[in-house]
């Protein structure tokens, strides 16, 4: 259960106070696949960074499983990101000098898994997203975009998070590969009962999710 109440975020910029999010209220049930659509500058990324505890809101509450993450200390927020959140980025954001396997093992390390168990768990996760044992030992840049996004999904799933936050997960992929990735996320929300919130500008994809929120000028309009 994800519950956002009266969330406001404002910045002080040279041209005065900028309100990126204005009194946002959303509620997503566990296992739901929701999407946020909106134009560039509508506050999508800001909302996502609040939900992922990458940034702190100016006011309002974000409750994940009845814990207000906005009020957590910095170290508790780090632990929340490690264990409760899985990120999938448009740019994949894999660590370039670590192998595919090591990238997933890194997330397991931050999640607190004992060193001995990490390799087996990482191999299993990568197998599930369709990465071959040969590809696991390569550097991420030696894989195609679609393959890299599969790896980042495996990394996001590593610590069995309650929410996966996806920022334009198909933005850098061709439509066929994009659909494959979308289907994979969709299946996950069904099979693992994981809440998924995806930011997208692709109306096709947004239309297939359980719920769609539309942001405009920092406010939810639908």
């Amino acid at each position: 259960m994800l519950e956002v109440k009266n969330l406001t975020k404002s910045f002080n910029s040279p041209s005065g106070k900028v309100t990126a999010l204005d009194n946002v209220n959303i509620s997503i049930k566990t296992g739901e696949f929701a999407s946020i659509i909106g134009k560039s500058g509508s506050g999508k990324s800001t909302l996502l960074s609040m939900l992922g505890a990458l940034d702190t809101p100016t006011s309002g509450t974000i409750k994940v499983d009845d814990v207000d993450i906005a009020k957590l200390s910095a170290s508790k927020q780090t632990a929340y990101r490690a264990k409760k959140i899985g990120f999938v980025f448009q740019q994949y954001n894999l660590i370039p000098n670590l192998t595919v396997l090591e990238n997933v093992m890194l997330a397991l390390e931050f999640g607190g898994m004992p060193a001995k168990k990490r390799r087996v768990r990482a191999q299993k996760l990568l197998e599930e997203v369709g990465i071959t044992p040969d590809e696991m030992l390569r550097k991420p840049t030696r894989l195609s975009g679609g393959q890299q996004q599969r790896v980042s999904i495996a990394r996001a799933l590593a610590n069995r998070p309650s929410i996966i936050l996806a920022d334009e997960p198909t933005g850098n992929l061709d439509s066929k590969t994009g659909k494959m990735i979308f289907d994979m996320l969709h299946d996950l929300s069904r099979s693992e009962n994981t809440t998924i919130l995806a930011v997208t500008h692709d109306m096709d994809i947004a239309g297939k999710t359980d719920r769609t929120f539309t942001l405009r000028d920092g406010q939810i309009i639908a």
């Binding site: 992922g52 990101r81 264990k83 660590i95 670590l98 090591e102 997330a107």
Partner: protein
Amino acid sequence: MNVISRGIKNAFRSPVRSGAIILMLAISIGLILSMLVARSSVNSKITQVKANAGTNITISPAGVFGFAGGGNNLTTADVTQIYKTAHITSTTATLSDQLASTDTNLTPSLTLGNFGARQARFESSSSGVVTASGNSSSTTDSRPAPTPHTTVTGTTNPNSIATNGGTLSITSGTTINGNSSSYVALLGKDLASKNNLTVGKTFTAYGKTFTVSGIYTTGNTFQDSGIIMPLATVQTLSDQAGEVSSVIAKVDSSDNVSSTVTALKNTLGSKADIVSQAQQAADSVSSLQSISGLALASVVGAAIAGAVIILLAMIMIVRERRREIGVIKAIGGTNRKVVSQFVAEALTITVVGSIIGLALGVVVSGPMTSSLVSNSQNTTSTQASGGPSGGFGGGGGAFIRSSFSRFNSNLTQVTSSITPGVFASAVGITLLIAIIGSAVPAWFIARISPAEVLRAE
């Protein structure tokens, strides 16, 4: 794969750049080590110079220089008084005399030449035959022909004749006891070969028969044409009982030389000229001290350069990997883990740079130390070349020559040894460089927001 191994792996992520950073670091660390070595060897040399050099005080009768001038010799009472002066550890008394052809059966090995003939013109001696003929005879037609003399040095310590300030070099036979009064002598190399004398042979001087105890060489033609006898023997046979023409007193430390000179001037008054090496010793030590100071400045400079190199390299690396740091933080990496990873990376670069740098330092520290020292030695040599040439007098000339050659050897003998202490300080400074080099980037890392990952590029 933990933070440490990730850091080490990252250090070699860009081999060319890491190689360049490591090379720059290695050069500055090599410089640190070689400068520490130079400093420690120069410092040990300074201690040595203070203990040994410049501690001699020469006391000679006022108005006398070598065989020139005039005045009264010092007496046994004066020598006793000198020996009793505070800080004086030993004294060497010397009485020089010259043997004319009537006093000995030895043929002088020195020819007069222009210089000797000029000296002889002022002497009253009118007997003997000219050995050095040639152009000098034409200019001295109206005067009695001068005679070359053989110099006799009566001394309590034959080593005082050595021109290098050390032990007299005996080429054959044994040295003599300067405190005896027997008829034994050391012959200079040139004099011995001129007269075909070897160890155990005898010759006549002062109407007595002397046994050759040994042959010495000093590298100085004037000295090598002379005879060394025990002081008491010369005093008795030359009718100068209790008289000495020169006393060399050794002071316990160069720091006490000037106070001792003052004390001696008070007790001996105007009858003696007192010359010390204090100024020369101070000059020699001061040039060594400036090298030592220079070396220390270089250590500090190289350490700062090393720290700046690693600091800038790490700042550059951190800035370049802002996004990656953001990603690590976003997926749950703590500040501590990220910072440790970058510190491990900085340490790896520093350690590799240090190993190469220390190896480089070991190789270059020898030549570097000797080049630093030989530069300052050249300055001293220039001064030395302005000194008087040998052949003028017994005590004075030899003394000045010996003091310069000693200071030269002080400088060239600076050995560049790498002691464990020096090595440990080099390693310590290197670690300090790594810590400084990582501290500032760590602060940057801590300030990078995990929201960096969502920034569009």
